[in-house]
Symmetry: C2
């Protein structure tokens, strides 16, 4: 049974999930506090920032994922990252966990916490405390949308996707929401991703599934070592679809992983496309590297090059910047065996320029999604990365972020 996208479903659609989001007062007017909750404790998996400086809420959520091994709810705020806030920051994050647990009448060790926003300012706990009391999660689209809005910072659109598949004859939904945005590559953006599913699966296998797809989805936009203090993606699987427990030996294992992959990839692409100030999604697909990892490294280097990003913004078929980025990616390559296409137009073959119509390429580059294909002819390694163009608006947004 193939998966299918169900556009009207959302993170509150898998059986037993509810969500909500409100304005509590960390931002001026917009929603800034969200809650995602499952009727029963859910299996949980998570991937977290590799930044050496880790925000307080992540330390708590990591404990839930790795120590408790189950999660039933996660409380999320935007407007303050609660990072570099010392002991007070830890205390505040624990307070958020405790208040949420008390409100829901569940064990605090089942409650995750996530934050995004300015680094180094202590949380205003009065509005958060009042806000948590007011949260009223529902299993409807409205609840999911308000949650998606409450996790936004400089995001311009909410990011949601959902797929349905059949496992053991049972309908299973995997849905996700995420926030970006920042300059995705090569710098840190706080990326938060929340994926819900009613599939029945143990935490250890859910973690295995998430790990297997992270490098080719979320990490293909946010590079290891270029992460923020607050990045996290968590998946909650509450088992209420009542399929037989998924393990790698289950006949539908691959189906489940593929569906999770597609949900993750769509969220990742939405984050890249909504990079700060971005007007275009850039996709770089590399083949012919000696390994998949090297192919991804090249793809990420090209999509992260400020000179490539500004050229795409300027509708400039400046492939010299593309090949230069391939060259400094550090991957094993032969300069005379590189082929580059921009869209369907070949611009480089055997490392040398090919005649092409600049006019036609300008028309292509004006599209909202620009694809760059690089073949380095060294092996079978494949990799894709996503990013966005670098624009005046990026500078404007980030030169005045706190003002």
């Amino acid at each position: 049974m193939a998966m299918k996208r169900i556009s009207y479903k959302n993170i509150a659609s898998p059986k037993g999930f509810k969500a909500t989001g409100i304005h509590c007062g960390l931002k001026h007017k917009k929603k800034d506090l969200g809650l995602l909750v499952s009727e029963v404790p859910a299996s949980v998996a998570g991937v977290f920032t590799t930044n050496a400086i880790i925000a307080a809420p992540l330390l708590i959520t990591k404990d839930v994922v790795y120590q408790t091994g189950k999660m039933q709810a996660i409380i999320v705020n935007a407007g303050n990252a609660n990072a570099c806030t010392g002991k007070q920051g830890m205390a505040d994050a624990y307070t958020m966990q405790k208040l949420t647990a008390d409100k829901l009448g569940i064990d605090r060790n089942l409650v995750g916490v996530a934050s995004t926003g300015v680094i180094g300012e202590h949380m205003k706990m009065d509005p958060v405390t009042e806000g948590i009391k007011q949260l009223d999660p529902v299993d409807e689209l409205e609840g999911a949308m308000s949650f998606s809005q409450a996790i936004m910072t400089t995001d311009t659109v909410t990011k949601n996707t959902s797929y349905q598949t059949i496992i053991d004859g049972k309908e299973v939904i995997i849905a996700g929401t995420a926030k970006g945005s920042g300059m995705i590559e090569p710098n840190m953006a706080t990326m938060l991703g929340f994926i819900t599913t009613d599939a029945n699966i143990e935490s250890k296998y859910l973690q295995k599934a998430l790990k297997s797809i992270t490098d080719i989805t979320f990490n293909a936009i946010t590079v290891d070592g270029d992460t923020s203090t607050n990045d996290m993606v968590v998946v909650m699987a509450n088992g209420m679809a009542e399929n037989n427990t998924l393990t790698p030996d289950h006949p539908d294992w691959e189906n489940f992983v593929q569906t999770l992959h597609v949900v993750s990839q769509e969220l990742a692409k939405m984050i890249a496309k909504d990079g700060e100030g971005a007007t275009k999604l850039i996709e770089v697909e590399v083949k012919g590297a000696i390994t998949d990892a090297e192919a991804r490294k090249i793809a990420k280097t090209v999509v992260g090059s400020p000179l490539v990003k500004t050229a795409v913004f300027g509708n400039d078929a400046n492939w010299g910047r593309i090949i230069a980025a391939v060259g400094y990616s550090g991957a094993t390559l032969d300069p005379n065996a590189i082929t580059i296409h921009i869209g369907t137009t070949k611009v480089v073959e055997n490392g040398e320029p090919v005649a092409f119509s600049e006019e036609d390429l300008i028309v292509y580059l004006k599209q909202p999604e620009v694809k760059i294909y690089v073949d380095i002819h060294q092996g079978d390694g494949l990799g894709t990365a996503w990013g966005c163009d670098l624009t005046y608006d990026y500078v404007q947004i980030n030169a005045t972020y706190r003002s």
Copy 2:
């Protein structure tokens, strides 16, 4: 004897050096062809791009440095990088070498070639051929200035410095010129540097001296692996000051190396300050790392962060972005042992925010040179890196470079 800066001296000032630059027709109107020449074959040292894709002229100059071991002249053009131009590109670079050698009546193996400009277009050899015939190098300021102008691409100012010192009682001059600019970090800029001196030193020791300072000068703005296809720095030492040959055992060895260091560092800082669209030089000084290399890595990561760069442009004391960059630098650190100053204002201590006057810092951030000090309290490692702010003009310049 201490070195001293002599502002009116230049690359044509060391005994026996001449220079010139003219417009030959690779650019619309500006100078685009330069020649630097020594009366006698000079000892030579060079550092070259680590990009896997290396422009044709660099292959030739590398041969001169590593095979011939002496250089008497170098021909440089701007407007075309002669990179990714295949066999024709190599033939064109050899032609430039040969024409220059013939004009000067010297062996072609004593002539280096350097190019900067657009990648992937074949050289227009007619104007270059005609231009080489017209070159008339002189040992005056005018010759040095016209050479400096002829190597510029998007540079807004020429970059020159010169120091004088005494070795064995002889006056020795070390002078240099360079071009940037691009976004220095984290991306490739074509950086060309030409340093002349009348010191007497063998090529192998000149190379040793250059290598010893490259990481803390030119590589502190252009990171390994983030280099262009055309980067190079060459030093020519023609011995006409008639000091006893410099070796590491010579009593003035350190004096010579320090003078070369200062010349290189000044050129590097000038390149960083004139980064495309830049309004400010940013200097990041890191101490307390476990090694100097780790300190430099942190410094380069901070100064290369687009979010730090835009914050500095916006006069925003957003130290959260600084500490986040420290965190993702990959260096060994303790999040709770980080101190950060912006100028003389402490903004972070023990990883936590310190109260400070935003108003005072805004005044500081509006200065043309902004210094950021990071102490991670892990060891004795020191390192400094230089960069520039990220501005609307950077986007404008690079979105329309070829238009």
